[in-house]
Symmetry: C2
Subunit: 217 residues, 2 copies
Amino acid sequence: MGADNIRKMTLTKDILKQLNLFSEPELRQKLLEHCLLKSFEKDDVIVRQGQYIKVVPIVISGTIRVFQTKEDREILLYYVQPNQTCMMSLSACFYNNESPSQAIAMEKTQVLVVPTRFIAQWQKEYASWNNFVIKTFRNRYDELLHTFESVAFDHVDKRVLEYLQDRASIEAINRIEISHQQLANELGTTRVVISRILKQFELEGKVILHRKMIEII
Amino acid sequence: MGADNIRKMTLTKDILKQLNLFSEPELRQKLLEHCLLKSFEKDDVIVRQGQYIKVVPIVISGTIRVFQTKEDREILLYYVQPNQTCMMSLSACFYNNESPSQAIAMEKTQVLVVPTRFIAQWQKEYASWNNFVIKTFRNRYDELLHTFESVAFDHVDKRVLEYLQDRASIEAINRIEISHQQLANELGTTRVVISRILKQFELEGKVILHRKMIEII
DNA sequence: TCAAAACGGTATCAAAAGATACCGAAGTGG
DNA sequence: CCACTTCGGTATCTTTTGATACCGTTTTGA
């Protein structure tokens, strides 16, 4: 939320309706009173590594990519879709510290900006809010555990194939628009390794390689 | 909780006092009514990979090691100390599924066994319980994120040194009793790699190697 | 006591990944 | 249109880690 080019917009009931998360009318009223609607353009920085976080962004539309970097290496943690929020924001509500991760908008993205001071309080008062908090913690932990396990135990080629298949499955497509460098950034390795592996896959008849696009057979 | 050699013992107020987690007298009364005290010997299996979990074990004394395995490889997730619980138990309360991890007692260990059906309910009713749940989620996530980052970005030798230094620091000792194979199991690699790295450290004057013990200089 | 198991050191070889460099093709934007 | 950037293929070499084997020493437990 340190990005200078944030657009604050009017939060209305209609916009809030796009979130199918919170059922209590009283809570929805409080969201209208205390929260903002913000809009980001593609590639806008939402959270920087090391940044102190004062708000929890719940995605209404669009996608946020959360990742770790070290020197010139980068690895995906997760994507934040509509009706979701990011872990470092939620974490910061209960013990404010610096974000270990970065968050960037992948496309034009609208978020509901919730001040952190309400999170713990609303958790006690509203079941749907508590449910959201717990589900976020739980799902993000499971997801990270899965990623951790494959980084720890699997070779990169297996992880590449799994990534492509997951993505094809989720998006119900077989033509994945991604460059080799982007794929390297998702998996925490280098572009050359990815190119090498993908070429091997092409020779094995698993994929057809296009420029910035990979077709799964 | 599938281990056949569990010893059920009497849960008394005095034993419950060893936990400095829960402040409400009403909650402490409910813990006395609904929970059990169980005891494990060193090397007892507390949770198996793939097992469905019906209880949340809160450690009163002793230590539990939680880890992931794949084929004959193994990597530490975390240790559960007194006043703590494990993540797959807590996770199972909100959506029961198979444990992705294994848990083993590292020494004689006593745990408070809380049936999962009370977790979500008590979370709404007792602030200290909610605090425990949230803190567990948060701390375990942060911890896993840190481990993930070093597995993803650091070489094994760096991770070895960091492990040894962390352990020396936490235990306020400089003689760490661990075999090369155990260290390999903590870090998800092989014994030979560990031996090689440690030998290099010895040549560099960072450690002195003993049998089943490493002395940090 | 002694056989077996565990431990750790070392060697050899292989596989995986990284680092660097170069190049031709495609895309971008002034 | 054209200079520049991006993309991806490939080569070469290096580093890191893994796999396997062997061995001498120490520990364990019957």
